[in-house]
């Protein structure tokens, strides 16, 4: 019989714990984490993973924290109030990464040929006054939420391609921009299709271009977390990405590839998005808002680099920030870069 000294027993126990920890990172720990989300269809990956129990399977007890805008979400990650979130790359996000607070760990929403993407718009009042193509927007008021937002980036890329100058008009909120576009206070804007299309039909504005034509392979939103989670909580972060990816795959199967029941998926998403509207009305918007969320949270590094370089060229973030400061590319498959 093997004699088991106290020291040996301790070593054995320690070894077992370490081994199980290495094998199945967060599994069976039922770890409580907080995930930040906006009530947009583009966050469906999280909603599906939660509703269908993919997070629970990965050993995570997820609690959603809902936000009104992307910017506060980035700050909440930095302050440690939430663990993971999905949002567009903005100047604020890059600044926080530069301060060593957050890291981009994966990709989410992306533009893809064949799937309706974000649109460039011209307000009806301006359209009637003869501004009918993007080139005509030269010197006109172009709505953005804030300097350094994704709207600013999309406008600037279009302006550079068309060789025109835009007068960027910060209006803070998407709601305020929609109001200003309707009343003709601003001339141009870009937005996701499920907002663009219904109001174009109603005559508030005219769709004059696709963002995908000006910014190919645009990585619109990314998955990000605190620098601490990325560096020291590897298991938990991998578990989160695994659950999230399963949710994304289900979403794509139902909404884009048509290999799963779309109605059921719409029901699920409707629990989180457009909750103030009845199912029949919300369904149209949810289906209209379908965009590709990258499978396996793959990240297009080329697009991220392009966005980073643009923010730097505009003097919105420090010139010495590198891609490595912003991105931890060890978690997911990367494209380009």
């Amino acid at each position: 019989m093997i004699k088991l000294s106290r020291r040996k027993a301790m070593a054995l126990m320690g070894g077992t714990v370490a081994a199980s920890g290495l094998a199945a990172p967060a599994l069976a720990m039922n770890k409580k984490i907080k995930v930040g989300a906006l009530r947009f269809t583009s966050h469906s990956g999280n909603f599906v993973a939660f509703e269908r129990g993919y997070f629970a399977e990965a050993g995570l007890d997820v609690e959603f924290e809902f936000f009104q805008a992307a910017q506060p979400m980035a700050v909440a990650i930095a302050s440690g109030d939430i663990d993971y979130a999905v949002t567009a790359i903005s100047g604020g996000l890059i600044s926080l990464a530069d301060k060593g607070a957050i890291k981009v760990i994966g990709g989410a929403l992306q533009e893809e040929a064949g799937i309706d993407g974000q649109k460039y718009l011209i307000s009806d009042a301006s359209y009637q006054a003869g501004i009918q193509s993007l080139k005509d927007l030269n010197g006109k008021k172009y709505a953005i939420t804030q300097a350094g937002s994704s709207f600013h980036y999309m406008g600037a890329k279009m302006a550079a391609a068309e060789g025109i100058e835009l007068s960027y008009t910060p209006l803070q909120k998407v709601g305020a921009i929609i109001g200003a576009m309707k009343s003709g206070q601003v001339d141009g804007w870009s937005i996701v299709p499920h907002i663009a299309k219904p109001l174009a039909k109603a005559g508030a504005w005219h769709i004059v271009g696709n963002v995908a034509d000006y910014i190919p392979d645009y990585q619109v939103t990314t998955v990000f977390t605190s620098a601490n989670n990325a560096a020291n909580e590897r298991g938990q972060t991998e578990s989160f990405l695994a659950g999230f990816s399963k949710g994304v795959d289900d979403y794509a199967a139902a909404m884009i590839d048509g290999t799963a029941d779309q109605d059921e998926m719409v029901d699920l998403i409707h629990k989180y998005v457009y909750t103030d509207r009845e199912r029949a009305k919300a369904a149209g918007s949810i289906i209209n808002g379908t965009m590709r969320i990258s499978s396996g949270a793959a990240l297009n590094l080329g697009s991220v680099q392009d966005q980073l370089s643009w923010f730097q060229s505009e003097g919105l973030v420090g010139k010495d920030i590198t891609l490595d400061t912003l991105v931890d590319s060890s978690y997911v498959k990367t494209i380009g870069g």
């Binding site: 930095a78 100047g91 926080l96 301060k99 008021k141 804030q146 910060p170 973030v317």
Partner: protein
């Protein structure tokens, strides 16, 4: 008797009389800034919590040397000047009318009380529709924000004018207009000016709100941009400019007080 005459009693009076110590205020600022500088350099204040004061100074210097400072300061000062002039002049007129006429008082005081607590920022989208996204809505917001506190301070000051002076003027046979011009208005001036300190500070606060919508340049727009970029150095540089504006406004009012209230001493 001889016993008690020998006992000396220490003088217990004095104190409880604040005397101005000119350098202490400056010292407090210097110490606070030095502690922040030391903390951020040593690392026990993280870059996420506070910017380095020396970096803020450097940002400020760049802002000045690139000429951007005046590009931002110009529109903001114009908005402050136009908005505050409108709000304060209408506010003083309405306040004096409320102070003088019972009907106007009964009619307007409830209205003023009703609009005072409205957060003017909440009305910003409405102002954009009424006055356009250009300068109009910004003037209107600042004017509206300075109007109500000015009215309240003004009619309060008119109410506080010494009634015995008015009765004396009446005994000497002064006309109603003379009493208003020579007794009520000068008597209300100290109260009106101290009310101005509050309303002009509110104007500076509202500057940031006014520049939320559709402003490319302006101190408020600069601060909002720095906030959305999480650029703490620029954020603090902007906040310092607002503080300095406040100090300047306060100094200007002190100057006016000395000039116009010389009769008090």
């Amino acid at each position: 008797m001889s016993d008690t005459s020998k006992r000396t009693v220490a003088f217990r009076g004095g104190g409880f009389a604040p005397k101005p110590q000119a350098w202490i205020g400056v010292m407090v600022f210097v110490v606070l800034i030095l502690v922040a500088e030391w903390g951020t350099r040593a690392g026990w204040i993280s870059a996420l919590t506070l910017p380095k004061p020396s970096d803020v100074l450097e940002t400020f210097r760049q802002l000045y040397s690139s000429g951007l400072l005046f590009q931002h300061l110009g529109p903001s000062l114009a908005r402050l000047a136009v908005g505050a002039t409108l709000g304060v002049s209408i506010g003083i007129s309405v306040g004096v009318l409320i102070g003088l006429f019972s009907y106007i008082r009964s009619g307007l005081v409830p209205v003023i009380a009703a609009i005072f607590p409205i957060p003017k920022i909440a009305l910003l989208p409405l102002f954009v529709i009424w006055f356009g996204i250009g300068e109009g809505s910004k003037y209107a917001l600042i004017a509206f924000g300075t109007f109500t506190p000015t009215v309240v301070a003004t009619y309060g000051a008119v109410d506080n004018v010494d009634r015995t002076l008015i009765r004396m003027g009446q005994s000497f046979g002064l006309s109603w207009w003379s009493i208003v011009r020579k007794i009520i208005l000068p008597g209300a001036l100290p109260g009106i000016l101290s009310g101005l300190r509050i309303s002009l500070s509110i104007a500076i606060i509202l500057l940031v709100a006014a520049e939320m919508l559709g402003a490319q340049y302006g101190i408020g727009a600069y601060i909002l941009e720095a906030g959305s970029l999480y650029d703490l150095e620029r954020l603090f540089a902007g906040v310092v400019i607002l503080s300095l504006l406040g100090v300047v406004v306060s100094a200007v009012i002190s100057f006016i007080e000395r000039r116009m209230l010389g009769w008090r001493s």
